[in-house]
Every structure is written in C-alpha cells, then in structure tokens.
C-alpha cells in the first residue's frame, strides 16, 4: 500500500493518526485509522455499508468524539477541542449530509444564512435578522449553485437535487477550507448526482478546498476524485492516487472478509 506523506505539515489539511472509535454499545466502527490529506485534494471514501465511513467523517468535525488516536484538522486538534474552539473549527469545515439537513419551512436564503451562524453572536430568526452584507453573500452562494431564483422559496418545495445544492450553498457560506460530504448524492437521480458532484469539484478547484466525500458508486469515485481510500470493518484497506487504480482494485474493497457481510458483498459484486 502506498503511503502519501510527502507533503510539508503546513500543507496538510487533515491528519488522522491511529484513530479508533468504539461506540458505547461496543461496536468498533473505526480501527486504527491513519490518514493524511493534503490541501486541495479531492478524496473519495468508499466501503461497504457499516464500514465506518460516516463515523470517520463525523469524527473529523467533532460530531463524534474519538475513543483513541488523534484528529488534526487545519492545525486544530479536534479530539481535545471543546465548546468554543470546536465551534470555531466547525465554522471552517463544511459538512454536506445525505439527507441535506435543511429546515424545510425556512426559505433557501435563510438556510444558506445559517452557514454564517458561526461568525455571529446570538440567535437569529428569519432572513431579516441577518446583516445585509451576509444576505448579499448568501445570495452570491445561491447564484453559484444556480438557485438564486429560488432564494425566497421554501426549502421543502424544492427537488432533491436542488435541496442538496442549497445545502452546498450553506457550506460555501462558511468559506470552508475543508468540505466533508457524506453520501451527498445517494438520494439523488443520476442526472442530479452528476450536477451536484460537478459543482463540488468545480468549487474545490476554484477555491482550493479540500474535499473528503463518501460515495457508493465506484465509477463515480474513479472518475471524479484525486485519491481513493477504502474502508473495511473500520480499517483502511485501500489508499491510492486515482491514476494508478483500476476498477478491479477498487472492487477489492468490497470483497468478502469472511464476516457476516459476505451476503452484501456478493450482491454488490453482481450489481456492479
């Protein structure tokens, strides 16, 4: 396995060292994971259902606390950060959820403005409670994802692809240096999926943003990312730059391990 650690420390966006996560119910979701992601890289995270992809992403911005090892994002140690410093760090990490995480009854504009809460003091309710400068910025983000027309439409009136674009606009509002995306296209049709991934890629290139994105479609991952990391039962089993990879090597991640996952693996292979 090729290890990628040929970059200087200041150019490292995310550094994970011997990370493990055991949930209170005993599940070991991450098992001694080490990973170093240079600035500006677009990384696809693949693996079977339950292999720990979501857990890894959530640990990166402190939604889950690790039970062992160390997570450093943008020079901040997430594992020891708490309260204020964690909020400050999160403000610079975008997170895109599979189910979008929009407030359905609020307008798109307000959902995007939520992305700026980390830079504001005190609670906000309604678009008018945000400073005009931020509103202008929110509108720009909506323009970037092609939804400025829908700015004052309620979020729950949008299509799935549009909702995910609003969610991306919300992340962009944070001016993130790292974007974490957990299956951002899993609930979208192929056309919208392509649109959303292209959008993320374009912005990553424009802004020099680091992207870590879990994906279920191997072809998408191959065509889209710089680097692929495969997880199996909480361990890193593949970590290579995209150019050196073949589809077969990637499918290897989904191969049976003699665990009860065998059934799922076989069906995954057949459908591939």
């Amino acid at each position: 396995m090729q290890v990628i650690n040929t970059v200087a420390d200041s150019d490292v966006a995310v550094k994970v060292t011997s990370l493990s996560k055991r949930f209170p119910n005993g599940t070991l979701a991450l098992d001694n994971v080490s990973l170093e992601v240079p600035r500006g890289q677009v990384l696809a995270l693949i693996g079977l259902s339950g292999s720990g992809k979501s857990t890894l992403l959530r640990t990166l911005n402190g939604l889950h606390a690790p039970t062992g090892g160390k997570v450093v994002v943008q020079g901040t140690d997430v594992s020891t950060a708490n309260g204020k410093s964690l909020r400050k760090l999160r403000h610079h990490i975008g997170f895109v959820f599979q189910q979008f995480g929009l407030v359905g009854r609020a307008t798109c504009m307000e959902n995007v403005l939520v992305g700026s809460l980390g830079s504001l003091r005190g609670p906000r309710l309604g678009v008018r409670s945000y400073p005009v400068a931020l509103r202008r910025k929110a509108l720009e983000q909506l323009e970037r994802v092609g939804l400025s027309e829908q700015a004052f439409q309620r979020a729950d009136t949008l299509s799935g692809g549009q909702m995910q674009r609003v969610a991306i606009a919300r992340s962009l509002m944070q001016e993130p240096s790292v974007l974490l995306a957990d299956e951002p296209v899993a609930s979208l049709d192929p056309e919208s999926a392509n649109q959303v991934l292209d959008l993320i890629l374009r912005i990553a290139r424009e802004d020099g943003m680091t992207v870590i994105c879990t994906l279920h479609q191997v072809e998408l991952a191959l065509g889209w990312s710089d680097r692929i990391v495969g997880l199996r039962a909480g361990q890193v089993v593949l970590d290579q730059m995209n150019a050196q990879l073949s589809q077969d090597q990637v499918m290897e991640v989904y191969r049976a391990t003699g665990t009860p996952m065998q059934f799922e693996t076989e069906s995954a292979l057949q459908s591939a």
Partner: protein
Amino acid sequence: MSPSATRERLSPPITATQVQLFIFTVACVAAFVWSWIFLGMSFSGITSSFGDVSRLVKRMVPPDFSNLSNIVDATIETVWMAVMGTAGAIVLSFPLALGAARNTSPHPTIRYICRTVISLTRAVPDLVLGAVFVSALSIGPLPGVLALAIHSIGMVGKLFADAIEQAAEAPREATISVGATRRQTTRASILPQAMPSMIATALFRLEINIRASTVLGLVGAGGIGVLIQTSLRSLDYESALGAVAVIFVVVTAVELLSVRIRSAILGDAAALAQSSRHGWFSQRIIARDTRVNRKSFETRALSPPWTWDRMFSTATISGFLLALAVAVLTIDIDWARTVPLMPQIITVFGDLFPPDFTTVRSEMVTGIVESVVIAVIATGLGLLIAVPLSLLAARNIMTKRILSTVTRLVMLAFRGIPELIIAVIFVSAMGLGPVPGTLALTVVTASFSAKLFAEALEEVDAAPREAVLAVGAGKIQEFFASVVPQFMPAFTGHFLYILDVNLRSSTVLGIVGGGGIGFLLLNSMRVLEFQTTGAIVMAIFGIVLAIELIGNWVRQLLR
C-alpha cells in the same frame, strides 16, 4: 442593478399570509393587554393569591379519609358515568361520522347536516347540558351520563369522520371494482383501516370524560364533585383533600393507562423497538409478531393472525364492554322511573326557545365579556409558563434526563386534578370573582399545553439540528435556527386549540363562583327562567363558533 432592486432581493417578499399572521399576532397581544387591564390583574396580586391558596392547602393537610367509603362509592359512580357517557357518544357518533365523512356520506346534504350536528354538540359545555338534563330528569347520575354522551359527540364524531376520511382510497376503489355494494365497501375496506384510530379516540375521550364527570356533581348530575364542594362549604378542608386525593389517583392512573394503550394500538410498537430504552420487551413483541405472521402465511390461514396489535385492540374493546356492562348493572339509576321521563328533555329544550335576551341584558353582556377575558388571560399566562416548562420536559432539548423527568412528573401531577376542582379550591381560598377562576384556568392551561408542546418539540426533525450544529453554531443559535421554525406551526395550532378549550371552560367557571357568564346561566335555570337560559346558551354558542372561524382562518394561513 439599482440599489433598491438589490435591497428588495435581499429581503424576503412580504406575502399576504405574513401580513394576516402579523395582524392576528398583534390582535392577540392587544386582546391580552386589554383583558389584563379589564380584570385589574397585577403580578403582586397573583403572588398574594397563590399565598392564599397555599395557606388553604396547608389547612387541607392531612387529608381526612374517614369518609373513605363514601368517597370511593362516589368515585366509582363517577367512573361508571364516564364509561356509559363514552359508550353513548360512540353509538351516537358512529352513524353521524359515516354521514359526515366525504368518502362514506350518501349525499352532500346529509354530510352537511351531520357536520352541523357534530359541531353543535361540541359548542354547548357538558356542565350546561348536565344542568339542563337535571332540570328535566331531577338530580342523579343519568343526566350526567346523557350530558357526557351528547357533548362528546363533538369530538368523537369529528375524529371518527377524520379517521374514515383518512382511510386510503386505493383499497376502496379495489373493493368497488370487484362489484361490492356501498355498505360492503365501507365494511371491507374503510372500517378496518379506521379502526385503530377510532379506538384510540374513544379511549382518549374516556380519559377526558372521567375528568369531566368528577365535576358534573356541581350541577347535581352525579359523581364525586359535589362531595368536594360540600366539604369546602362546611369548612371541612381535610375531607375535601381526601376526595381530591382519590380523584387525583384515578385521573392520573387513567391518563397513564390510556396513553400506553393508545400508543400500542396506534402501532408505535415499531417505533418503540428502535429506541434502546424499551429494547428487550419490544424485541420480544416484534419477534413474536413475525413468527405468528409467518406461521399463518405458511399454513394458509384464512383469518388474520393474532398479532400483538390485534390482541391488544381486542382486549381493549372487551375490557371496555365489560366495564360498560358492570356500569349499567350497578350504577344508581332507576331505569324504570327515569326512562319514561326522557320526553321531558325535549320539553325543557323547547322551553329554551324563543331565547329571551331582554331580562338580564347588561348582566349578560358583562358576563360574556368576563368569560372571554378570563379565557384570554388564562391562555396567555398559561402559555408563558408552558413554553419554558415544555423546553425542560422535551428530552431532545433538555438533555439532562433528571430535569426533564421531574418536569414531566410535576405537569402530570397538576393534570391529575380537574380544572373545576382547582377552581373550587381557588375560590374557597380567594373568595368569589373572576381572578380565582382565571388563575385556576391558568394553572390547568400551563400543565396541559406544556405537555402538548413537549410532545411537539420531541417530534422536531433531528437532521437539520445536526446540520446547524455542524456549521459551528452555538446551542441557542441552533435552537432558533432549526427548532423554532419547525415548532411554530404546532405551537400555533395548539394555541388555537387551547384558546378554544379555555373559552368553553370559562363559560362554566361561574358555576363554582369563578366569574364569567356561568353564574348567570345556572341562576337562570334555578329560577326557571329558561328563555334567559336559552339566550345565554345561544351567546356561548356564538362565541365558540366565532373562535372556531378564527381558528380555521389562521390554520389555513399556516398550511
């Protein structure tokens, strides 16, 4: 782009809906402030009132149970009245609901008539009905049972009709397409689907009716209520508390039981299984159901398998029928004497017409204004207390389990005493007048709405909350950005509902000296001026109808 155009696009457009909601909000606040001034309320006054009440409560302890056998007899009568009243309501509501539901009604005219009858019954408070029936049938539990049965149609009939309308169209079309008659269609496709919801409604009404029947005694319609009032009047405070304690136990037990049974019947078993707290038991239930279902499939059984849900529903229905049988057989009603008196009810209702608005006009206007004012203040103050309480009680907001549990217990304790009983106690402590009535209603409003709000808060979708936290928002920011917008519609809906309930309650507070139109109402019946009674009932009816119209308007704005 011109500066003005930019500014326009940076603020949401103001819609007609928002303007109307704004007007409604301003009107509510204005009504509250005006009412507050009208009654001469003040916070220091409220504090000293609660001082009076706590002094009275101190004199009530320790409770005196020497009269226990009487209390228990009266309590049993109260429960049987509620059971019979609910049964009557179910029997009467069922045909009305079939006539009122869009998908089963034979004709639009019939549908309209059924709908009207259903809302009419809801508009007349059960205590008023009780008083009217007492004057026709003389005192005893029967007038109480009839009052409960008729007043309950308003809720039971409406919810039954809703349940029938919600029964999906698809199976119905399938049944029609095989050539079934209308009645067969109703039986085969609609009722089975509406059944669980209907059973839950009936149970919920039974719970409400048990509370209601504890106070029917105040107008001579049977049950335990009169015992408390007599004890308080004769300054026998310890006995009063004894009776209140028994009511408290019964009402609380019924609420806890009814909530459990309802959630089991409405199929929350699956939801329970997901939460780890109930893991073991629900796992067993689900495992058993799966086994039973598979077996009946394998053996090609022709009748549905006895799943947990089905056993539960059947047990509930049998239990209710059994209770009903015992109630009919043992309750102290002289059927042979009273049944022939039934036609007199119609005579008494006839006596209400034509309503006579002249005799006590100015008193009537004052009474009605006072009732509305009481309801407005009780609703406003009650909500001010309920919102923070509900935040403490909602387990997804207040993550310290102990605090939320304690809050829940306190709320449950207050709900255990029916509102008119609280009013009787407040009036005894503070003297006659609208302020004790208002405060009693406030306490009840607070504990009931806190429960409704806490439930609504717990239903808030967690996904946006997590997403907002992930952008680095603080806890309070997250609450306003994701919880408040999700909670608003439920809050407004419950607010309208509570205002509606309080308006009805405030019209009867006067019966125990708590202010409002109720006193005049009861008095007109005592002095046999039934046409004045008719006028007052019409006036109450008008208020209730008005608030219902306002409610419909606001609900439609929120859609």
